[in-house]
């Protein structure tokens, strides 16, 4: 059975800078189109930094390049934006707020 990771989305400096360049700009797309994974999880997945992986949630899937980062085991970080939002479901549990933090994700090497 595949391990589930917990997805956290959030702001980065490059994502904010890309917004000023425009949502269709190469800067914005590059700034929002990768996933951060810790080195231990990269090793356990049998992948290398820069390799693309398929991320799957109950809401959808997306393929992104892996960046190694200092985050806890079992956590994924994707800058807020259209790539991350392929994985975030619309369920708000009656609050109006989707689960931009806390979605359960499966990761498969490509």
């Amino acid at each position: 059975m595949k391990k589930f990771f917990t997805l956290i989305t959030g702001r980065t400096k490059k994502q904010a800078h890309g917004l000023h360049k425009g949502i269709g700009s190469p800067d914005y797309i590059a700034a929002t189109s990768y996933v951060e994974i810790c080195p231990d999880d990269i090793a356990s997945l049998g992948i290398i930094e820069g390799q693309k992986v398929k991320l799957l949630s109950e809401a959808g899937s997306v393929e992104l390049a892996v960046h190694s980062a200092d985050i806890p085991i079992g956590l994924l970080f994707i800058p807020m934006g259209p790539a991350a939002n392929q994985l975030v479901g619309p369920e708000t549990f009656g609050t109006g707020m989707p689960s931009f933090k806390g979605m359960q994700i499966k990761v498969s090497p490509l």
Binding site: P90, G94, G96, M97
Partner: protein, 423 residues
Amino acid sequence: MSRIIEDVICKFCGCLCDDIAVETEDDHIVKIKRACPNGRSMFLDYDSSFSKPLVNGREVEWDEAITAAADILDKADSPLIYGLSSTSSESQRKAVELADHLGAVIDSTSSVCHFPTSQALQAVGEATCTLGEVKNRADLLIYWGCNPLVSHIRHFSRYSANAKGMLLPNGRKDRTVVVVDVRPTATSKVADIFLQIKPETDYEILSSLRALVHGKKPEYCIDGVNIEQLEQLAAMLKNCRYGVIFFGMGLTMSTGRSYNVTELFTLVAELNKFNRFSAMPMRGHGNVAGADQVLTWLSGYPTAVSFACGIPQIGPGEFTSVDMLAGKEIDAAFIIASNPAVHFPHAAASHLKKIPTIHMAPVSNGFTGDADVILPTACYGIDAPGTSYRMDNVPLRLRSVLKKKRPTDEEVLIQIIKAVKKC
């Protein structure tokens, strides 16, 4: 001709830094002093040139665009007005007037950032303060589920950790900084104490801190932290002179949502039995706090307000944009100064492509690609003056540093209201 304008307000984020120097040459911004990288980009990348509105991809005169927008809104049974966080409070006021006339739902970007904070505020109240008090008095600063060194880059230097204040003349040396987060961040790296917690444990930790502050030791364990760490933090909370907890979407977007913030507000209120303590949400967009203020003046509620029944009604999960779009309950959308196409979950954003959409924003922000009517307006704080609320709810007057070549959001909204009333 070149000129330097001092003390300009940057409206990129909720800090509203008001010490920016803008140098212009022949009505173009050529140099920015003192702004953070985000603010610098906002000014330097802005294109103030005249551009015409578009209807179905075709350039038209403003009269035709206003008529097309009014026609879409008038024909809709369930229109949504969304955004508002990067426009002026004067425009926000007109947007509420339009929603009231149409019987529309009006929702700001608070819906997907600090709406849970507003719900907590309505439940238990909020002990808060201004950023001036933080700068001059706060000796304990806690940043919970937020990363200001990335999202609010000058917050530390102007208002909080590094600022030299009246009672804290040595700035950072006089203050203790604690970060609570699920991952190491730029902010946690400069903290005196970093409490790294597991995702989804904020509520339990806040509850435990409340118990410890009242002298009761929890008899359970929380995954990822030990009781000694919480005892140390509880002692700091009780023994500081003036504490402030800044919090972000680590609380509002995680499991618990408003319950997390309710527990935080309750903790902060209880700490005022021992010392002075405040809480403050880290508001993202430059006037998202203003959107909450204006909607509350006019409807009694901060966001997710429906005028469909002729009276304002609030509905978290019912009149919130993501729920309404994902449930296909909206048949026309008017997007003002925001971009839900990239910031909403795919299932909600994709519905925008299927319904008539009007998008109004300064051109440099980027438009929703499939909008039927595109209204390129001036940018408040660059080529239009207007009112904006700082994250501590202090209203500030934004100045104009360039000549205006496009109408403002407020001017366009006034015209749309007139046109809708004629329909």
